[in-house]
Amino acid sequence: MSANDLLLRAEGLTALRDERVLFRGLSVSVAAGEVLRVEGPNGAGKTTLLRILCGLDQDCEGRIAWPRAEAAGRPWREELLWLGHLPGLKSTLTAEENLAWLCALRGRAPRRPLREALAMVGLAGFEDLPAGALSAGQKRRVALARLHLEDAPLWVLDEPFTAIDRAGVEALEQLLAAHAQAGGAVVFTTHHAPAITSRSLLLGKAA
């Protein structure tokens, strides 16, 4: 594995919450082509770890480096696509309008027309409904449509399969595998048991 393939390297991560140690001195690195599943029971610290990797949680110790971005002189956030528990949709905007502003935050044109991406996640016909009127699963699907639109190499996904129906779960699994194959990388959590994981990181036994 050449140094150029290393997207993310975190070292000595330590997170304490309420005097409980979630993890101490944890090191994680993610290289191109990897699908890393962060595993652990409820309350193990999976969400916390993912948010720390994305720079969203500043309440921790440790170093995080983005070797490839640094080598290319790019801001590291350009390499990252984050989807958390909350889909980040404005409820009064339509699905399409939501995708428009979310993708524009990256400052680059989307990879394909927005409607095409919506159709790919099974939302053809729902493009012009306000996002607030969508069901739980449909909202997540809108957020997942970004995976078809943006060109960040590292996807960090917290429980992406939540609220998605069976057909949707299969499609998403294939998408993650394809992304890794094409030179991207995925870090994700889930309580399902998908077959696509190339590597697992097991966090403690909390709850």
């Binding site: 500043q58 350009e78 990252l80 909350l86 309008e97 524009a104 306000p130």
Partner: protein, 222 residues
């Protein structure tokens, strides 16, 4: 620049989609101004005298109330996280957000204030000065208020906390804004006050975006 434009457009679209809500700060402004004659003695001479102060305080409170939702809704639906992981400079995004707020809330307030001034029997030079002081001051209120709103978005019941944080910062704006109109009413010079308001505006546009960005990163960690 394109992230700036996208966020700005998004916020205008949000305001337009809920355009009924745009009337709300306005309605509040109008109703508060008409409350005072009820609460105090409805004596026209007295009212004309305290008129500019009234309009200013009401405008300030209207802006204050509108701040609550400035970033909270973004936080509640996860949009804030997406802003924080965006590769665009966060101060720029903050500026877009606040600019949209100035246009959708601040500008209508300034536009409706002539009506209220007339209701309170303010005319002649004080009328013009009151309007210019509001035109300069309301954007300052929005910029400064946004810092408070950003600081409190991480906190569950932030509603009144914003007011508490922001009001002390509002006092100088209020003093110079209402002071200008009051001075004009007495035939005293008022250009100095207006110049100070202009300075405050320039200062807040220059610095507030950075403060807001910092505050948002902290709120996002909570």
């Amino acid at each position: 620049m394109s992230a700036f434009a996208a966020l700005f457009r998004r916020d205008l679209a949000l305001a337009w989609r809920a355009r009924g809500d745009l009337v709300n700060p306005l309605g509040f402004f109008v109703i508060v101004v008409s409350l005072f004659p009820l609460g105090m003695s409805p004596d026209p001479a007295l009212l004309a005298r305290i008129g500019p102060g009234l309009v200013w305080v009401a405008a300030l409170l209207a802006v204050l109330l509108s701040l609550e939702n400035l970033f909270r809704s973004d936080r509640d639906d996860g949009a804030l996280e997406q802003l924080l992981v965006s590769s665009a400079p966060l101060p720029l995004l903050a500026l877009a957000r606040v600019l949209a707020h100035v246009i959708t809330v601040g500008v209508p307030l300034v536009l409706v204030s002539p009506l209220l001034a007339l209701m309170l029997n303010i005319d002649g030079e004080p009328f013009g000065v009151l309007l210019s002081s509001l035109a300069l001051g309301v954007p300052v209120l929005c910029m400064v208020g946004a810092i408070g709103a950003a600081l409190t978005t991480g906190i569950a019941r932030g509603g009144v906390l914003v007011a508490l944080i922001v009001l002390p910062l509002y006092i100088p704006v209020l003093v110079f804004g209402a002071g200008a109109a009051y001075a004009a009413g007495l035939g005293l010079p008022f250009a100095g006050q207006l110049a100070i308001l202009g300075a405050l505006l320039a200062l807040s546009v220059a610095l507030a975006p950075f403060a807001i960005a910092g505050a948002l990163r902290i709120s996002g960690s909570q």
